[in-house]
Structure formats: structure tokens, C-alpha cells
Amino acid sequence: MAAVPLQAKLSQTAPERSWRTDRSSLALAALGAAFVASLFGSLLFGRYPLSPSVWWHALTNSASAGVPGVVLLQVRLPRIFADLLIGAGLSVSGAAYQGLFRNPMVSPDILGVSAGAGLGAAAGILFGLDIVAIQFLSFGGGLLAVLLTCALAAPVSRRGDPVLTLVLVGILVGAVFMSLISLVKYVADTNTKLPAITFWLMGSMAAVNPRDVRLLAPIAIAGLVPLLLVRWRLNVLSFGEEEARALGIHTGRLRWTVILASTLLTASSVAVAGMVGWVGLVIPHLARMLVGPNYKVLLPASLLLGSSYLLLVDDVARSVSATEIPLGILTALVGAPFFLYLMTRSKRGWV
């Protein structure tokens, strides 16, 4: 057997950490600080400003806290947790999908999950169900749409690129669910249900309560943890199906893990907050500009950045005017021009 070469050539001293590693850990630390700052800032800001001392009083002595305590524990805190989880979930799944589908233009709803979840919610509102049922229907609709995409793509992909097939079928399934949403809106009562559906689809955190967070948190964690665990392998996946397999990756297993985890994240966020667009597309780009494309750093960076971003945008949504601006409108309003800005100043094609 051939002596495997190279071993002898290894120098005994560890290679110096490159400037790149230092730079990305620095950026990650800065993002962590930004995250903490936006978290505490969001606790204080709002139509009902809460000073740190009121906070302390409410947290240590919730029974006698009065109005500030209610604002804090029943309204603001759940909303902040929801912002944090949904911002993280959409950004992390967007980043993971961009690697899996080898395309920086991909967003988390590429396989139809948002359209499915939207249809579930719209149908729930149409049938006059209560909020819990609407949320379950929405979550289920998201899962169903992705399941449908995968099932329809399976026979086709045997004769071609499985990843490309998934994208194309996902667009088709998304389009069908979108037209079904239009159908539901068309038959809905124009005085009561149509506005409710329309408003819900715009995406908003206004109605988030502690129960929502209790439902959302375990699902979000179940989606985030596997993606964070396998994140380094997403690098290899972005070199394409065959190359990744030749490098020793079981691509099928990894692909289903990513799809399942991302679907849980996106479906649960739509079920709680409606359609909050552009976060899953813009945040991974921005994170990639800051820390580079290596998923080892990119995924935690996307998580921190996505959380901070949604916290800040939601601060604007709830404090800028007496009536709330739906969050989805703001994320699109901020996201689309910002994306254009990233495109124009990116030096390396699709950063």
C-alpha cells in the first residue's frame, strides 16, 4: 500500500490564525453586542416607555406592578421574544436554503411554505375558527405545501438535478397555494373576514401573546438546533450535489434535514406573525458581507443579525405612529431598497 504522503511535510507548529478568522470572530462579537443592545432597547421603547427601574420592579414584584407590569409581561416581553425567534428563524433558514439551493436569491419560502401557511390561516379565518385553530391550520398548511413539493419533485428528480427540480416544483406549488388564497379572499365576507385575512397576510406582531411564544419557542428551537449543528457541512453542499457526495457527504440526508428544519421555522413564524417578507433574503446577504460565506460563522451571524433586525423594525412598527404599521410592510419597505444597495456595493458578484 502506498505510503500516504504529506504527513512528513506538516510543520510541527500550528498555523497562525488567519486575519480572516480574527476578522470574522470580531464581527461576530460585534453582532452579539448589537443583539444585546437592540434587545434591551426594545424592552424600553414603545408607545408606553418603560424605564429600567420600572422593569426591575415589574420583574421582581409582578403582583403589585400595575399597568407597567401588564404592558411588560403580557404585551412587550412576548412580542420581543417573538421578534427574536422569528427574526432568527427566517434568517437562518434563508441562509441555509441559499447554500442548499446554491443560489443567493433564494428565500425561505422557495418550497411554498409561506403560501401554504397563508392559505391555512386564510381558510381558518374564513371558517370563523378561533385563533389557536387558525394558527394550527396555518402551521399545518405550511408543512403540507412543502410535503407536496417534495412528493411531486421526487419522481421528476430521479431523471435530473434533485435540487433544481425542488425549486421549480416549489414555485409551482407556491403559485397554486397563492391562487387558493385569492379564492378564499374572493369568497370571504367583505365587511369582516376579508379585512382580517388581508391584515393577517401583511404580517404583524401586534397580537402576539404569551401563549404564542410558548407554542413558537419549542418549534423554533427544534428548527434552529439541527441547522446550527450541521452548519459547516452546508458549505460543502453549496458546491453541488455530485461534488458534495464525492467529498463524502450523504447529501440526501443532509438535504432533508435542512428542508425539515427550515420548514418548521418558516411555517411556525407565519403561523404566529403572518407573512414577514424579505428578512430571510436580505439578512443572510448582509451577514455574508460582514463575516464571509463560511457557514460555520455565517449561520450564527445570520441568527444574531436577523433577531436584532426584526426587533428594531418592530420597534419602529409599534412606536412610530398611534396606529401600528404592519411589520410585513416595513420589512419589505426596508428590505427591498436595502437589497438593491447591497447589490450595487458588492464587489464580488453575489456576496
Binding site: M1, A2, A3, V4, P5, L6, K9, L10, S11, A14, P15, S18, W19, R20, Q98, G99, R102, N103, P104, R158, R159, L229, V230, R231, W232, R233, N235, V236, S238, F239, E242, E243, A244, R245, A246, L247, G248, I249, H250, R288, G292, P293, N294, K296, R348, G349, W350, V351
Partner: protein
């Protein structure tokens, strides 16, 4: 180590692309596969790498059929060097080379210090250590090809499978890659390469095979196999083989 391809037939759903292919390769050898576009070279590569399941025959490593091997096991034995490409994201050269370590790391692991040392040593072997921090998407095509070879070395496999390693390279880079191929064989790797240039096979292959319409036309030592007859038949053009002083052979086409 020894690789034996035994009577392989392989293809896609309804179409068998290659059939009745048999040859062997030992460590320290360079085996060059020649053949016209569409003659089945890439399909044969995919069959050996386990990316396509052969419909007949088997691939044996030291006598053991690899059909039941895991992806990880295959990757630890065969490293694939694709044609230079551009990934969608601007990874650093070191990050690209480190991806070779996937076959040695657990599913939730990422490369550590030892892996980085192996990657840097591989870059050094190819003489491109200075590119470690460059963006893979911004270096030249020739440099990218060297990075992919370095990545294959970092995979610590015994056989290197190079798919047209000299295509799209300028003349100087072609020669540089050929030199690396010879040197890697001298270090004990077994190399399986495809090429479109008979001269490259004359320059560095210890054994060659000519593929035509999915079948082996001939295989053996370059001087015996790469004749005016076999190459003319494989490519469908008239050509001449000339002996230079020093014993080297060159292949030149006839332009009538």
C-alpha cells in the same frame, strides 16, 4: 493499493453509456482515459466514484467490492478533482480546501487545528500557500484547478480522479498541472485522469485507455495504445504521431 474496474456497464435511466469496461490501476501510476466528447469518460468516472450505480460489473479496491461502501468510505479512498468551477459564494481558498475534511469529520463537527494544518500543507505541496486567504472566486482558472488538486490531497485518499485537469488552462498552467500529476504519482498516489490531448497522455501517463462509444477500444502502455490507428478511430480525424529526439512522441492532426 490496487483499483480494479471489472466489466462495468453503466448509464442513465434508459440509456447504457459505457459497457464491458475493465482495467486496473495501482498506486504510483497515472492512468489516462482518452476519447471523443460523449464517449463515456465522465459516466465511467461517476461509476467508479459511486455517483452512478453500475448496472453490471463491479469496482474493486484491493479485491473488495466497493458497492456497499458508505460515501465517507469512498471519499477516503477516492478524491475527485472536478474541472475548475465557480461556486455561488466567495469562499476563501483555505475554506475550499478544508471541505475535503468532510469525509474525516462527524456530522456535527467542523474542521479543527489539525485539519487546518493538513489544508495548509496541501496548499504548500501545490506551491500555492500564498493563496490561502484569497477568495476562490477571484483567482485565475489555473489557480482554481491547483486549489481543487490541493483539496483532493487534503482528503487523504489513495486515488485521485481528475476530470480533464488541463482543460481551460493556458499552456504554462497545463504543463504545471501535468508536472504535479507526475510528482503526485511519484509520491504514491494512484491517478486516474481524463484528457482530450494525446500529447498529455504521452507526457505523464504510465497507462492509457481509449474509449469509443462507451467501449474500450484499447488499453495498455501509451506508446502501444496511442497509435495513428486507434486515435484516428476514436476522434474520427486523420493524424500523425511523430517521434521527437529524446524519444518523446507527439500527435499532430493532418489538415489535408
Amino acid at each position: 493499493m490496487n483499483l480494479e474496474v471489472r466489466n462495468i456497464a453503466c448509464g442513465y435511466a434508459q440509456r447504457t453509456v459505457v459497457r464491458n469496461i475493465s482495467f486496473g490501476l495501482d498506486s504510483g501510476e497515472v492512468f489516462s482515459l482518452l476519447g471523443a466528447n460523449g464517449s463515456g469518460k465522465t459516466t465511467l468516472f461517476k461509476a467508479i466514484l459511486g455517483l452512478l450505480r453500475p448496472s453490471e460489473g463491479s469496482v474493486l479496491v484491493d479485491g473488495e467490492d466497493i458497492a456497499s461502501w458508505s460515501r465517507r468510505q469512498v471519499a477516503r479512498t477516492f478524491a475527485y478533482v472536478p474541472q475548475a468551477h465557480t461556486p455561488p459564494f466567495p469562499f476563501s481558498v483555505r475554506d475550499v480546501v478544508l471541505m475535503a475534511r468532510a469525509a474525516h469529520l462527524g456530522i456535527v463537527e467542523s474542521p479543527g487545528r489539525n485539519d487546518r494544518m493538513i489544508a495548509d500543507a496541501s496548499l504548500e505541496t501545490l506551491g500555492i500557500a500564498h493563496l490561502a486567504d484569497a477568495h476562490y472566486t477571484e483567482i485565475s482558472g489555473g489557480e482554481r484547478q491547483l486549489v481543487l488538486i490541493a483539496r483532493a490531497l487534503a482528503q487523504r485518499s489513495h486515488f485521485l480522479m481528475m476530470d480533464e485537469p488541463t482543460s481551460n488552462l493556458d499552456f504554462g498552467n497545463q504543463v504545471r498541472v501535468l508536472r504535479h500529476i507526475k510528482e503526485l504519482a511519484a509520491r504514491g498516489f494512484g491517478l486516474l485522469t481524463t484528457t482530450h490531448v494525446p500529447d498529455h497522455a504521452f507526457l505523464c501517463a504510465s497507462r492509457v485507455a481509449v474509449l469509443k462509444d462507451g467501449r474500450l477500444l484499447a488499453s495498455g502502455a501509451p506508446d502501444d495504445v496511442l497509435t495513428e490507428g486507434s486515435l484516428g478511430a476514436a476522434y474520427g480525424v486523420a493524424l500523425r504521431i511523430r517521434l521527437l529526439e529524446g524519444g518523446m512522441r507527439v500527435c499532430v492532426p493532418e489538415m489535408n
